[in-house]
């Protein structure tokens, strides 16, 4: 992608400033404004304004929806932009006694919860309990929803899942809809009380004998990196729950192999070497690179705006099948809220992420090879259904570490296609790995440190810096250098 000039009239420049672009577009725009101080100043101003807006909007009152509903309603009402209401309604509002509103609200919730119980009872026959547990965790841990925390408001909760995501403690307020829920309430964001993130525990190690298939949607938002930068530049270490490793790793462009022909939407670049934070483990990097558009395919000038986001494949789902002869257990690094059920992989009705022209997406697995002490619990003798006895049924002694299967749909198609890429582990050491591999490992380990991950092993800020430096490469755009300066800032904040 090549953009010769970009002006402040171009929405892409705003999207760039707000961290809403994928890696390829970001690189193109960074290059286009490299020698353009006016455009750079614009970007800085938009970023500063964005920060002001987030801070200011976070302070807007949140309606308190239980006991004190009426009071909050009034204050919200006063701030409403353009209330469209005639005088009759206004008078009615004013006269209406708030305690009745509160009472009604309570009554409505009582009804709500009765209904809920009825529905839940009906559903329990068919619902898979395990699935629901995951839903509960995910609902609780939607990260990107910073909103104002009013002092004493019971509605602003950070549900702390802890490292053991099974120990989910939830408020039981159906018994008493007007009283605050009796769970520990912890407001993230310290004194400012501006942002609340729910902590989502790292994906746990899974035993290959029990779960040989790892399935997820390769959908990445990279806003997390801008967020991290904002905290660190402000001299603050970000709250651990605000750090999303896959968003950090995917902020950076990587030079992955492009697809061989126009008929293939993307190519997979896989690499495996020892995990630098735990050399007895293997680190697997899966990189997908979307096909670049040919000149003829590029949208006309008028369409440039949408053109830079041309989707070349949609509903991109990945399934990694680990070979139990080689791998004892594994964990997917990041992507905690993108996990899919294994049966979703072949279900074309389940949506997933898209890949744009020229974009790259990266995922990392930490793998415990057979013969190495595993951090997982003792594995019960489950039925290992793959490599040994699956449909393929032909690789019982395969040298392969894993097979990557990618399912995707063409942008206009409802029917998916599948690509399959096997990976053999040649036993490479981290020191001999590619620069992209080293850099991605450095970013992931930085994320693990900031999240205080139980899997962070022997990592320190200095080792992160060392690995990042080894992985700098040409660093077009200076992103990797900037990363190193952030690591130094984090080290200073943590000192």
């Amino acid at each position: 992608m090549n953009i010769s000039k970009i002006t402040s009239d171009d929405p892409r420049l705003t999207a760039f400033a707000l961290g809403e672009l994928g890696a390829a577009e970001r690189v193109a725009i960074a290059a286009a404004i490299k020698d353009d101080p006016a455009a750079q100043a614009f970007v800085e101003q938009i970023r500063a304004l964005g920060g002001e807006l987030s801070a200011m909007l976070a302070k807007e009152p949140l309606p308190v929806v239980r006991a004190t509903a009426g009071v909050a309603a009034e204050s919200t009402e006063n701030k409403t932009a353009t209330p469209v209401r005639d005088d009759y309604e206004r008078r009615k509002m004013v006269r209406f006694p708030y305690y009745i509103v509160a009472g009604l609200a309570a009554a409505c919730f009582a009804v709500l919860f009765v209904q809920q119980q009825t529905l839940a009872t009906k559903r329990q026959e068919i619902a898979k309990a395990e699935q629901q547990r995951r839903n509960v965790e995910r609902a609780a841990s939607r990260m990107a929803l910073p909103y104002a925390a009013q002092a004493g408001s019971p509605s602003i909760l950070e549900v702390s899942l802890g490292d053991d995501a099974h120990a989910v403690s939830m408020p039981a307020f159906s018994n008493s809809p007007t009283s605050p829920p009796s769970v520990p309430v912890q407001i993230a964001g310290q004194a400012s009380n501006i942002e609340a993130y729910a902590y989502q525990a790292d994906n746990a190690y899974l035993a290959v004998a029990e779960a040989p298939l790892s399935t997820f949607s390769m959908e990445v938002d990279t806003a997390g990196y801008s967020n991290l930068r904002r905290f660190l530049k402000g001299g603050q270490r970000p709250p651990r729950e605000a750090v999303r490793i896959e968003e950090l790793v995917n902020y950076f462009p990587y030079r992955y192999t492009v697809p061989k022909d126009a008929a293939t939407p993307f190519a997979a670049s896989m690499e495996v070497a020892s995990a630098p934070w735990n050399p007895s483990h293997r680190l697997v990097r899966i990189g997908l690179k979307g096909r670049e558009l040919s000149l003829a395919e590029r949208p006309a000038l008028a369409d440039q705006l949408s053109g830079t986001r041309v989707t070349i494949a949609k509903d991109v789902k990945l399934q990694v099948e680990f070979n139990p002869a080689r791998v004892k257990s594994y964990r997917l690094i990041g992507y905690e809220n993108r996990m899919l059920k294994k049966e979703d992989f072949n279900n074309d009705k389940i949506d997933a992420g898209e890949i744009g022209a020229g974009h790259t997406v990266t995922a990392l697995y930490e793998v415990v090879p057979v013969g190495v002490d595993s951090p997982t619990e003792a594995v019960p003798a489950g039925d290992a259904l793959k490599y040994s006895e699956g449909k393929a049924g032909k690789f019982p002694e395969s040298a392969e570490l894993l097979t990557l299967k990618v399912r995707y749909k063409a942008p206009t198609s409802d029917v998916s296609s599948k690509l399959v890429f096997p990976l053999v582990d040649s036993g490479a050491e981290f020191a001999t790995a590619s620069q992209d591999f080293k850099f991605a490992a450095a970013v992931a380990s930085f994320g693990m440190m900031l999240r205080d991950s139980p899997h962070k092993g022997a990592v320190t800020f200095d080792s992160v810096l060392g690995w990042a430096e080894d992985g700098l490469g040409e660093d077009a755009g200076g992103y990797r250098h900037e990363f190193m300066s952030l690591v130094k800032q984090a080290k200073a904040c943590s000192g």
């Binding site: 629901q132 509960v136 939830m170 408020p171």
Partner: protein, 174 residues
Amino acid sequence: MNRENAHELAENFVQTAVVDYQSPLTRYATRLVGDPDRARDIVQDTFVKLMAQPPAAVDGHVAEWLFTVCRHRALDVLRKEGRMKRFEDGEMERVTAEEPRPARALEAAETHDTLLRMIELLPPNQQEVLRLKFQSGFSYKEISRITALSVSHVGVLIHHAVTRLRAEYAAQQP
């Protein structure tokens, strides 16, 4: 997993969503319909719909799902009351663009108040996406799914909003 646990978890799923999103959704709906009472009804309807939903259908994107359904419901309410004008963007853009610029009318008293008042002079569709982005923390892509606008349209609206705020904000500075 026994039946009792399954029952408990199904309840937890909705309860968690209520705890996490009831206030932000009520704030969003209040903005849309301009009335906190109606907004609360809308948010309740939204959670009732969530209960009827198999958990798998909203798996991993509960917030986005809730905001989307809440928005649909709010627009239904507005439509029934003949107040849809508020959201017909072309018209609102034109009307608002012809209003006098607020720049000089405002005292540069306090940054946040100034900004807030400027936001409230933006067309409603710009205000909505601006709040989804900076208040609720959704990405362009998520906003696109919530509002049924294309990602590039969302980008254009946010671009117009922030460039206008930037210009007006700059005009406020001594």
